[in-house]
Amino acid sequence: MQAKKRYLILLSAGTCLVLLFYFGGVQLPSSGRNRHDRSHNGYRPDQPWPHFSDPLQQFLLWDQPDTEEYNIHISPRQKRDVNTSVYKGKRCRMDSCFDFSACKRNDFKVYVYPQQKGEKISESYQNILSIVEGSRFYTTDPGQACLFILSLDTLDRDSLSPQYVHNLKTKVQNLHLWNNGRNHLIFNLYSGTWPDYTEDLGFDIGQAMLAKASISTEIFRPNFDVSIPLFSKEHPRTGGDRGYLKYNSIPPFRKYMLVFKGKRYLTGIGSDTRNALYHVHNQEDVVLLTTCKHGKDWQKHKDARCEKDNAEYDKYDYREMLHNSTFCLVPRGRRLGSFRFLEALQAACVPVMLSNGWELPFSEIINWNTAAVIGDERLLLQIPSTVRSIHQDKILALRQQTQFLWEAYFSSVEKIVLTTLEIIQDRVLQQESRSTLMWNSHPGGLFALPQYSAHLGDFPFYYATLGIKPYPKFTAVIHAVTPLVSQSQPILKLLVSVAKSQYCAQIIVLWNCDKPLPAKHRWPATSVPVIVIEGENKVMSSRFLPYETIVTDAVLSLDEDTVLSTTEVDFAFTVWQSFPERLVGYPARSHFWDSNKERWGYTSKWTNDYSMVLTGAAIYHRYYHFLYTNFLPASLKGMVDQLANCEDILMNFLVSAVTKLPPIKVTQKKQYKETMMGQVSLAPPHNLSLWIFRQTCMNKFASWFGGMPLVHSQMRLDPVLFKDQVSILRKKYRDIERL
């Protein structure tokens, strides 16, 4: 028995030796690990790439470019022409399939084909067309157009769908402006059908651009096509719901880490990823649920897991999961994109993309890494550890970015369509296009118009990001509507007190009065230049025109009968410097929802909050003049001009829609006009019809904006020692208290 034991040991030893050599053999080439270990001890890691010390040749000889250049005889112009003729179809790019000359003549204009009788158009496509027609890009003249949009419904190209339009091929070919699709944009949400769901549209799109949902990188032509999100029939036309994030919580973790609830495809394309999800499901914080119960004959294909999966699926409520999860899985369905994507985005649930080869929506301009986790279907099993490794700070940032992107580009069909058009416009105008920063930071590309300036520092939104400050002076713009007859008129007093402000750079008097301009000597002598501009058509909107004479970032907007002291002007300006993207002013007003009349109401009563400051005495960034003039539709501006009223309400709507924040009221002062002084403010305004006008305006504006952008505030900003019981001599803005 002793011997037996010994042999036993011997044999084991032998086995071990074999094993040892085996492992040793594996280890030998990996001695790099040892090297790195040694480098921690201050030992310089040896250089596996020997930094060769011989005199080596340069890769580029000094005269190579020259000699090459003199050897080519083909003219660069010809070369360009060759490119444009070669790269067609799948290889279309703006350079080869788009006619820029059509856009050069008149900005970026979009033509929509007239709708033909008997053609049925889905509601979604009808929405798209009416949005384009209501936009500032729209033209009815095809000769002016840079871009053409079909009135034939191309949204659903699934031939099994009831919305499918037949004979599209011939219908398109018969359009006399078709021009083989050149400068055309085709919207599409669904293409291909069961079982392979190819991305074929079923007709020849020629040189047309695609704005397509679920588009794959394979067919996507960079900087030519636009990837749009898949949206449902119920997606709101304008406005749209805000994101669900009401406040930030820290730490940012929610009940679930990662969730998904959706169909599982038992056969065919796109089934692999969802079939594998159950591996990762842990019933606790990673809840990934699938159901087989969909389609007519699911029972026929069902597999062993179906019953169990279906039971688990029914246990959880989708909305509850959506709102209580940090991450939401967005795996591919039959097609690459799914509704889950927008749902997660709106719910501030950071999307975890699991859809290899999907060109993400608006990928040309959106940096999705800041709002989503781009996973790889091949690495599904790593997803839980990946999302767990993401730091809290990053989650907080991702989550906020989902909300920004949702509200900036996705919350309504209008935003999706306008974003698509703006992307194409950026390509066409090239120099006047948005930088990545403008698209990816608040307030987003739809509100930051590059035609205003190429310089980020000229906008009110990027001071903090760039680490700069606005120009420390303002331009006063006084809106004059009555003739100058006496030297005691309020406008002259106003002029003097504003000019005395240390921050005043210049004063512009906008002469919107039918009487001719008064002689130069009638204006008081001031230390700052006074420029008198005759208003264009003498309409209300002209007070917000982006006059080139305004050289400062800040504009102090004034009515001619405004009463303001120099101290008040100075103080308001110092406050504005801290809030350069907002309206800062004196007279505040409020809106409210009148539930009896089911409409918005306007009030000038003294209330505990406000949502507007009137532009009769307000400071704001000059960019808003540009935005007012170029962003708002002619219908709203026309209404303002016709009523000669409401321009201040419209400006408040605009600024709040951009900033999502209320304006800022400064100090106690409530009345700001000579005519109002001495009135009891609690009484309804002196002119009832004017007040009714303003109600009407509010409701009209709210309907155009697709919601009420105004935000209430309960805060007013006073000078630091305001009405404090200290000597008045210690107060910098002491005059404010005397009023």
């Binding site: 011997a3 037996k4 042999y7 044999l11 084991s12 030893a13 030796l17 040892l20 040793g24 990996s30 040694r38 790439w49 060769f52 080596l56 040749q57 340069q58 890769f59 580029l60 000094w62 190579q64 470019p65 090459e68 003199y70 083909i74 660069p76 790019r93 990188t217 900087n223 009401k246 406040y247 930030n248 800041t370 986790v373 091949r378 490794s389 940032a397 120099q431 948005r434 930088s435 920063l437 990816n440 930071s441 608040h442 300036s453 190429a454 310089h455 903090a464 680490g467 110092t574 406050v575 801290s578 505990n608 909050d609 900033t659 999502k660 805060m715 007013r716 900003l717 006073d718 910098k732």
Partner: protein, 575 residues
């Protein structure tokens, strides 16, 4: 040894007995000998594990002095396979094996460099006329010194061949392709990265390397939109050899002597004619330089430019202009771009369909002006319309791009690897700000972690945190007052006194100094102490982060002549 005993016992207890054959005693000697041999072998292996480092490192010291001529010579048989031309539809999820990169806590890819070999054809002619270039050697050295490097081929995620393909001109296309295919881990080019700066050749000058390369990733200079596989290839700059030779100190942004400068010597005559027309129209604002006819070829001529007999130093002259023209030549990518950026001159790029270097991460709109070639005659008008402040930002940005991403082969190589790294670990990718903000902006910019404009509802309320030492009376007063607030969700008292335990229930303490707290009557030493704190903190921060404002927030109806009971916050200011 530990391993041995563990193994042995494991075997013994589990499967050992069943495996033992019956043996005769005469075989005992034989087994004892075997055991000894095994033991000796074990010892030797053990020695080997501890010994070899010194051997290895001396070998490596030798390596450092090694010359390229010592690299092994590989003869390529004519019949060797040639890779396929390169698939235009390749994307990371189709042509890249992500399993090789794995999950790792540092989120960093591992890059392996093949050892240098000298490839020759059957008759002994090298596949490249230059062999390893100085620049490619710099690039590979930089990679091997970097955190990306691994010398363990089995753990590598990305493979970089040591075959230099920077300049297609010096290559024999077919043989180079064969050499690539011979690489031991080539596997259809999967996860291989090639660096090429000068693609194509006469007469048509393709915009991507003509060497067939299967699925290999290409870091190429001079891609056009038709050859660049977005999200797969990396567009890199054409390195300017002058970068290493010339030091141009950074100049303050601002107006320059010339408005537009054209310094390229090899401009097609059609374009030169157009530039000359522009010069006629706008005179002094334009400086149109060409090669100096009296200088012979070579470094000296590369450093001079002439205009009508007037000689200028290049690249220094670039610093004298606000804008510098970078026109396409036979190729789209131009080394001039690098010189121009180094000089802090805003590049005006005229190269239709060109994919700008590192455009995947760099925001070129903030550093350059891109004008379609056919708009060259309008260049002056276009540039004039750009606001001065924008020009200054672009000048600063241009120089920053050069410093960070163009200045050396190392910078170019590291940027390329980082871009690929960002694709593989997108959730750990560098941000737009990290890529694009120059240090000055990074330093001065304020990016709030709570950047979304949100006005939170009242419903979650707030948590009050009260810090106390031993002034119980004042603490209780605070608690009583604050607990009246409807929005209070939680009250947290931080007892900051090691010597006393917090009071249980209600205890009364005398607190004479409590009432004396008033903004004006604080004693002097307190202020001095706090000033010292502020100075200390500011010096640690390197700047004073506090900002002075002159306003404070009050309720809308604060101190208004208005019935107090109608005010939301009637008591403010009453204390």
């Amino acid at each position: 040894m530990v391993r041995l005993s563990m193994c042995a016992s494991g075997k013994y207890s589990s499967r050992g007995p069943a495996l033992i054959p019956r043996m005769k005693t005469k075989h005992r000697i034989y087994y004892i000998t075997l055991f000894s041999v095994v033991l000796l072998g074990l010892i030797a292996t053990g020695m080997f594990q501890f010994w070899p480092h010194s051997i290895e490192s001396t070998a490596d010291w030798g390596l450092d002095r090694r010359s390229v001529h010592d690299a092994p010579l590989i003869r390529l048989p004519v019949a060797n396979p040639i890779p396929e031309r390169g698939d235009l539809s390749c994307r990371m999820h189709t042509c890249f094996d992500v399993y090789r990169c794995g999950y790792n806590p540092k989120n960093r890819i591992k890059v392996y460099i093949y050892p240098l070999q000298r490839f020759v054809d059957e008759v002994g002619v090298p596949i490249s006329s230059t062999g390893l270039s100085r620049e490619y050697n710099d690039l590979l050295s930089a990679i091997s010194d970097s955190e990306f490097y691994t010398d363990d081929v089995t753990r590598a995620c990305l493979f970089v061949p040591s075959i230099d393909v920077l300049n297609q001109n010096s290559l024999r296309i077919r043989e180079t392709a064969q050499a690539l295919a011979m690489l031991p881990r080539w596997d259809k080019g999967m996860n291989h990265l090639l660096f090429n700066m000068l693609p194509g050749g006469p007469p048509d000058y393709n915009t991507a390397l003509d060497v067939p390369r299967d699925r290999a990733l290409l870091a190429g200079g001079g891609f056009s939109t038709w050859t660049y596989r977005q999200g797969y290839d990396v567009s890199i700059p054409v390195y300017s050899p002058l970068s290493a030779d010339v030091e141009l100190p950074e100049r303050q942004p601002g107006p320059r002597r010339y408005f537009i400068l054209s310094s390229q010597t090899a401009i097609h005559r059609e374009y030169r004619a157009e530039l000359e027309r522009l010069k006629e129209e706008n005179g002094e604002a334009l400086l149109l330089l060409d090669k100096c006819s009296n200088l012979s070829q070579g470094v000296a001529s590369a450093r001079k430019r002439c205009y009508k007999g007037q000689v200028f130093d290049y690249p220094q002259i670039l610093q004298e202009s606000s804008f510098c023209v970078v026109l396409r030549g036979a190729r789209l990518g131009q080394a001039t771009l690098s010189d121009v950026l180094q000089a802090g001159c805003v590049p005006v790029i005229l190269a239709d369909s060109y994919i700008l270097p590192f455009s995947e991460v760099l925001d070129w709109k903030r550093a350059s002006v891109v004008i379609p070639e056919e708009k060259l005659p309008e260049m002056y008008t276009i540039l004039k319309s750009i606001p001065h402040r924008q020009v200054e930002e672009m000048q600063r940005q241009a120089r920053w791009f050069w410093d960070a991403y163009f200045s050396s082969m190392k910078a170019i190589g590291m940027t390329t690897l980082q871009i690929i790294n960002d694709r593989i670990y997108p959730y750990a990718a560098r941000t737009y700000e990290q890529w694009n903000n120059p240090p000055l902006v990074k330093w001065s910019s304020v990016n709030s972690p709570l950047f979304l404009p949100l006005i939170p509802p009242r419903s979650p309320g707030f948590t009050a945190v009260v810090l106390t030492y031993d002034r119980i009376e004042s603490l209780f007063r605070v608690i009583t007052e604050i607990s009246k607030v409807p929005s209070l969700a939680k009250l947290l008292v931080v007892w900051n006194n090691q010597n006393k335990s917090p009071p249980e229930g209600e205890k009364k303490f005398k607190c004479p100094e409590c009432t004396a707290i008033d903004g004006l009557s604080l004693d002097q030493t307190h202020m001095v102490e706090r000033s010292e704190c502020i100075n200390k903190f500011a010096s640690v921060f390197g700047t004073m982060p506090l900002k002075v404002v002159e306003h404070r927030a009050d309720p809308v109806l604060y101190k208004d002549d208005f019935p107090e009971k109608l005010k939301s916050f009637p008591n403010i200011g009453s204390l």
